[in-house]
Amino acid sequence: MAARNALLKYLRVHVEAVPRYPSSTSSIFVSSINAFRRHFSTEEVMGSFLDKSEVTDRVISVVKNFQKVDPSKVTPEANFQSDLGLDSLDAVEIVMALEEEFGFEIPDNEADKINSISLAVDFIASHPQAK
């Protein structure tokens, strides 16, 4: 989080720094680049990452709502197979439910790797499109 803020601050300074060196021959070029950069930097700000504790809470509530899961067994470190007694088909269903909860699509090769709550949280918290 701190690293991201530092990066955003850097980007913002960078955008403002451009008009300080106006060139008479390439002023149109500079302004268009500047507009592009401003657009780019607002996009960066909008594509925000979710807070990890919030993601954990939401993932846990999705898993608890899954009908085959005993809600008392759900912990942030629970493994789908060994701790919750789910098979590979259930794991696919849970990943699909997580996609619906967070409003983005998890690619198949990533979805295959998600076999525990902590892995699901790590993947979703590192994904800018999750909301």
Binding site: D87, S88, L89, V92, E93, M96, E100, D108, D112
Partner: protein
């Protein structure tokens, strides 16, 4: 004579299962969407203990043909679906 297809691997079966569920999600009508999901999950559960390679491949090819049907219906329903949503979809 058709030559029996080799028995599908575990990742292939998981991939078919996921594709069917993803396609089910695209169906506009609530009842059809929920039916497709339920039917997919029930069928894979029912066939999970199959051990005979020929029955595994025939179940797999049946699943693939059903995926094509679901994809086609998702497209057709998207063209002709009513604007109204089911009351079961609270948004």
């Amino acid at each position: 004579m058709t030559i029996a297809a080799p028995s599908p691997s575990r990742p292939e079966v998981i991939c078919l299962f996921r594709s069917l569920l993803r396609t089910a999600r695209k169906l506009a009508d609530y009842n059809i969407k929920e039916y497709t999901k339920r039917r997919t999950i029930d069928a894979f559960r029912q066939n999970r203990s199959l051990s005979d390679p020929s029955s595994i491949s025939s179940a797999f090819s049946y699943g693939k043909s059903q995926l094509e049907v679901a994809k086609k219906q998702a497209l057709v329903y998207s063209l002709y679906s009513p604007k109204l949503k089911s009351v079961m979809e609270a948004h």
